[in-house]
Amino acid sequence: MSQRAVPGFRVRRSGPLALLQDAGRFGVRHLGVTQGGPADLHGWAWANHLVGNSWGATALEITFGGIELVAERDLTLAVAGADLGATRDGEALPGWQSVAIREGQVLAFTQPINGLRAYLAVAGGFSAEPVLGSVACVVREGLGGHDGLGHTLAEGDLLRVGEGGGRGGDVRSAPPTERPDYRQTARLALLPGAQIGGFTGRSLFDAFNAVWRVDDRADRMGVRLTGPRLRCRIESLISEGIGLGAVQVPPDGQPIVLLNDRQTIGGYPRLGALTPLAASRLAQCLPGQEVCLAAVSRERALADYRRFRAVFAGVV
């Protein structure tokens, strides 16, 4: 980023987890370095888009809420993704649209109302030194984020932003069709994988007809689903590369959907992989929520993904 960086926000109170995320860390997975990036690509992309940032700009992923930020200057911002009860100086802050904040005002996030992860974008983007080509913050690997060391935000931390981000401009808002109700049971599109034939017929029926519950063992590495026990004739494989959204089934028969911070290689058989948008949708589910899996064709998944990305192509 050649743009000069200036102070944007000071963290007044830290929440459970707030991480800077650009599109992700690519080209280093062969070294065991994970992808990172926003767990919900849809919310992250909209937050950036609403403040005029191009694809890939760094936004803040806030999980659960609990964080309070003080504006260090006048800024244009947008919050998309989850509704975590955001307020500006105590007044409810509208989500899914660009809003202005003045120097000294407090932006606070309380708790999940609809969804799990909110994305805060500022015009000009958040600014930090890239590590291995990316700002994506991966706590487990100690890479990226505001300090380059993979730390979640803590009280007193300073978030820098690209200069010139304070310009006002027209209010932009996302159409209602783009604002998901994350409380609804999600139908997660899954591309069947090579080992699907190894599962028993009964297990395949269960996989796509049962209602799955999001377990509390869920984080940016993966989300465990609980439900009927799936049986696969293949118990384990020689470890191999794992893609985003891969649905692996360990011997206990309870699937784990692998998200952005997953290990790069692994050895459990897989039902297949969620599409990028389905993985994003799952990342907004709270423990205890119900989801369904629905097989989808590659053609259909690609068409959906192209339509999604077209919104953000080349528009600033």
């Binding site: 890479l143 590369g241 998944a301």
Partner: protein, 244 residues
Amino acid sequence: MTGRVTAGLPRLEAAGLDAWMVRLFATIDEANLPWLTALSRDCEAAFGEALVDLVPSYTTLLVVFDPLKLDPELARRRLEAVLAGLTPDADAMDGEIRELPTWYDTSVGPELGRLAERAGMSVAEVIGCHSEALYRVFALGFAPGFAFMGLLDERLECPRLDTPRQRVPLGSVAVAGRQTAAYPAVSPGGWNLIGRTAARLFDREREGFSLLRLGDRVRFVPVDRATFEAQGGDTTPMGEEAGR
């Protein structure tokens, strides 16, 4: 692709919207490496700008691409063409020889005794056996710079711990099954710990970041405590918050 052929291989497998899994072999073998290296190189040339990541492992290569730049069906056809013309990379077996100075001691390698007991050897013999071999890097994964190396002498073969440790200290040298590795960072882990190295396995300031690369050959060189400390090693015994 000609040479080592297993029925039905090589095979292209669906691995999500943005990836194909190229399955080349059915078993772990050093002789897989020249093929995997050649395949990685040819994929880089064939995919160009559309390539996102290549993740080689023991028998496979995951090819990740941008589906907006290259249609998945077209990507599949390119991979088929690459496989049809694939010849092994003769240089792959000459990977660098890396030495990892290792302090073998029960204070930092609590499973030395377990290995010795299983093998019917003394601890000194276990250390000799582990450090005499030249290991090959078969895969990187689990964590940045974590190299899966093999094959371990079968007398030292030992299952993973029943309960993984929450916190394995930086530089821990470990074995599991017929593999060995060194932990590049503090992390959870279920392998048997036998020593510690002060080598910097992953360094963001280093060209290429990771000390060990696919195909490298690695020797663990026994050093004494004083040498290990002089190299910057942390001698804090296990269970006392080592590796901070």
